[in-house]
C-alpha cells in the first residue's frame, strides 16, 4: 500500500513542478516525472515477491505456476514508455523553436495568449 502512496506522491511532485515552475524546460521535466510515476504505479500492480517469468514448459510444476508474475502491466509500461518518448521529443522540439523565437525559457515572458 505504501508503494502506491509513494507513486501518488511522485505524481503530485510532477504536477507541482509543472504548475509552479516558470521555466518551460522544468515544466517538461514535471511532465516526465508524472509519466514515470504512472509507469512505476503500473509496474507495482504487477509486482509479486519472488516472482518468476511466466513461461510454461512441460516441466513447469504447479508451485512454479503460483509464482508467475502478471506480464501484462510490463507490456503496458513498455508501450507507455515509448509513447512518452514520442511526446517528449515533440515537446523538446517545441521548446527549441520557442527559444529561437523569444530567446528565453521563461513562460511568463513568452506567454502572450490569454487562455
Amino acid at each position: 500500500m505504501t508503494v502506491y502512496f509513494m507513486c501518488a506522491v511522485l505524481l503530485m511532485m510532477g504536477l507541482y513542478c509543472l504548475v509552479a515552475k516558470k521555466n518551460i524546460v522544468k515544466k517538461i521535466i514535471g511532465i516526465v516525472i508524472m509519466e514515470y510515476a504512472v509507469n512505476l504505479y503500473l509496474i507495482t500492480i504487477g509486482y509479486k515477491k519472488g516472482g518468476v517469468a511466466p513461461i510454461i514448459e512441460k516441466t513447469t510444476s504447479p508451485e512454479l505456476l503460483e509464482r508467475f508474475v502478471d506480464p501484462l502491466p510490463q507490456a503496458l509500461v513498455l508501450t507507455s514508455i515509448v509513447i512518452g518518448l514520442g511526446t517528449l521529443a515533440l515537446m523538446v522540439s517545441l521548446v527549441i523553436r520557442l527559444y529561437e523565437k523569444h530567446g528565453t525559457f521563461d513562460m511568463s515572458q513568452i506567454s502572450k495568449l490569454r487562455g
Partner: protein, 469 residues
C-alpha cells in the same frame, strides 16, 4: 467507407484471432458508426479545403502525414474495444494534433501548441493512471469483460474507492480532451492558432471523439449506469455539473471576443457542454432507475447535438479560414460587408450561425430542444433554465458575428476581398447542405444513425454480450 457501415448490425473483430478477453477486440456498434461517419466525412472535406488553403505554408507533405495520423488515431479510438488500446490511439491522435496546432511555427502557434501539449500530456497521464487502476481492480483491460466484472461485484452497491478514483481520473482526463470547463484553458488558444482546416477538425471531431466519445464509452460501458448504484449517481452528477459550467462559461466568454476564431473556440466549449448535458442527464436518469424512454430521449438529444455541432462548427471554422485568406484578418472590428464581396462564404457562414444559434428550421434547434425538454422532464428545471438562457446568449453572439462581418457597408480589408476558389467553397457548401439536411431529414437519419447509437449507450449489457459472445 464509413457510410457503408450505416444500418449494418454491430460487429466485432478479434485482432490476431485471439478471442475477446485475451486479445484486443475492435468493436463496431451504433455509437461507433455515428462517430466514424462524423470523423471521416469532416476529415475528407477538410482535406479538400486544405488543397488550396494550405498553399501558403511550407512542408505540406508533413502536414498531410500528420493529418492522416490524426484521422487514423481517431478512428482507432472509436473502434477500439480495449482500454489500453484506446489510450494508445488517443495518444496517436493527440500527438499528431499537437504538432498540427504548432504547424505555423510562429510565436503564437508555438505557444498555443506548447500549452495544448502540456495539458494534453497531463490528461494522458490521468487516463493511463485510471486504466491501470481499472486493471488492478478487475484484472482485465477488455471493456466488456471489465464491465461484467464491475457489474457482478458492485452491481447496485457502492463501488470500490479505487474504482471511484479511476472514474474521477477518467472524467478529468477525458474532460481535458473534451475541453469541458474547468479543463478548457488550452482550447481558446489552440483552436485559433491552428490552420483553419485543423481548427475545423479539432473543434468538429477531435474534442468529440477523444473526449466526449471516450468518456461515454468508458462511463456507460465499463462503469455502467444501469446498475443504479449510488456511485454511478455521483458520476452522472459530475457529468451534469461539468456540462452546465461549460455551457455558462463558454457562452459568456464568447460574447466578449472580437477575434472570429477565438469566438468560435469559446462557442465550442459551450456547445460541447450541451452535448454532455444531454448524455449526463440520460446517465443520471438511468442511474436513479428512472424511465428508460426519458433516458433514451436525453441521450438521443446529446448525440444529435454532437453530430450537428461537428457539421456546423467545422463549417464555421472553414468559413473563418476562407475569410482570413481573402481579407488577411479575422478581427471582427475590421471586417464589414463581406456579404457583398464574398456571397458564397457569407451565405454558408450565415447558415451555420443560424443553425448553431438554434433558429427553428435548422438542425441545432431540434437537438437543443430535445436536450432541454429531456432535462425538464428529468426534473432538473434550474439546469434547463440555464441551458435555455445560454441558448439565447449563443444566438446573441452569432447575431453579432452576422451584424459585424457579413452585413453592413463594405469597408476596410473587405473592399479588396474576392470570393475564394471553388476548391475551398465546395466543401463549405456541402457542409451547409448537411446542416440544413439534419434539420429537415431527421426522420430518415434518426432511425438509421442516431437511434442505433442511442441504443448502444442505453444497453450496456448488449455490449458485453456482443464482445464476449
Amino acid at each position: 467507407m464509413a457510410c457503408l457501415a450505416i444500418g449494418t448490425p454491430a460487429m466485432v473483430h478479434h485482432m490476431g484471432g485471439w478471442t475477446a478477453p485475451l486479445g484486443i477486440a475492435l468493436v463496431s456498434d451504433g455509437l461507433t458508426v455515428l462517430l466514424l461517419i462524423a470523423v471521416n466525412v469532416i476529415a475528407f472535406l477538410c482535406i479538400i479545403f486544405s488543397l488550396k488553403y494550405m498553399r501558403v505554408y511550407t512542408g505540406l507533405t508533413k502536414y498531410y502525414s500528420l493529418f492522416m495520423l490524426m484521422v487514423a488515431g481517431m478512428n482507432g479510438v472509436v473502434v477500439s474495444g480495449d482500454l489500453f488500446n484506446l489510450f494508445v490511439f488517443l495518444e496517436v491522435a493527440s500527438i499528431a494534433s499537437y504538432a498540427l496546432v504548432a504547424f505555423g511555427v510562429e510565436a503564437d502557434e508555438l505557444e498555443a501548441g506548447f500549452k495544448y501539449m502540456i495539458l494534453g500530456s497531463v490528461a494522458s497521464v490521468m487516463i493511463l493512471f485510471a486504466v491501470g487502476t481499472v486493471y488492478a481492480v478487475t484484472g482485465t483491460l477488455n471493456m466488456a469483460d471489465a464491465s461484467r466484472e464491475i457489474a457482478t461485484r458492485f452491481g447496485g452497491a457502492e463501488m470500490n474507492p479505487a474504482l471511484l478514483l479511476a472514474a474521477a481520473f477518467f472524467l478529468m482526463g477525458f474532460g481535458l480532451k473534451a475541453a469541458l470547463v474547468p479543463f478548457h484553458a488550452w482550447l481558446p488558444d489552440a483552436h485559433p492558432s491552428a490552420p483553419a482546416p485543423i481548427s475545423a477538425m479539432l473543434s468538429g471531431v477531435v474534442i468529440k471523439s477523444l473526449g466526449v466519445y471516450a468518456m461515454c464509452r468508458v462511463m456507460f460501458h465499463v462503469f455502467g449506469f444501469a446498475s443504479a448504484s449510488p456511485s454511478s449517481v455521483i458520476i452522472a452528477d459530475t457529468m451534469i455539473w461539468l456540462s452546465v459550467l461549460s455551457i455558462v462559461v463558454g457562452g459568456l466568454m464568447a460574447i466578449g471576443q472580437w477575434d472570429f476564431k477565438r469566438l468560435l473556440a469559446y462557442s465550442s466549449i459551450g456547445q460541447v457542454g450541451y452535448v454532455m448535458l444531454g448524455i449526463g442527464v440520460g446517465a443520471r436518469v438511468l442511474a436513479t432507475g428512472g424511465t428508460r424512454s426519458l433516458a433514451a430521449l436525453a441521450i438521443l438529444g446529446g448525440l444529435f447535438h454532437l453530430i450537428n455541432h461537428a457539421a456546423f462548427k467545422s463549417l464555421l471554422f472553414l468559413s473563418s479560414g476562407a475569410i482570413q485568406q481573402a481579407t488577411g484578418t479575422r478581427d471582427m472590428k475590421m471586417l464589414s460587408g463581406l456579404g457583398k464581396r464574398m456571397p458564397i462564404t457569407a451565405a454558408t457562414t450565415n447558415l451555420a450561425a443560424l443553425s448553431i444559434a438554434g433558429v427553428p428550421p435548422f438542425s441545432g434547434f431540434w437537438s437543443k430542444l430535445i436536450i432541454i425538454v429531456a432535462t425538464i422532464r428529468a426534473g432538473h428545471t434550474a439546469v434547463a433554465v440555464v441551458a435555455i438562457a445560454m441558448a439565447f446568449v449563443t444566438l446573441a453572439y452569432y447575431v453579432k458575428v452576422q451584424k459585424e462581418m457579413i452585413f453592413g457597408p463594405v469597408r476596410g480589408p473587405a473592399e479588396s476581398a474576392k470570393e475564394v476558389s471553388p476548391v475551398m467553397y465546395v466543401p463549405m457548401i456541402i457542409l451547409a447542405i448537411v446542416c440544413v439536411g439534419f434539420g429537415l431529414l431527421y426522420p430518415v437519419l434518426g432511425s438509421r444513425i442516431l437511434e442505433p447509437a442511442r441504443d448502444a449507450l442505453l444497453n450496456g449489457a448488449e455490449y458485453v454480450k456482443l464482445v464476449l459472445g
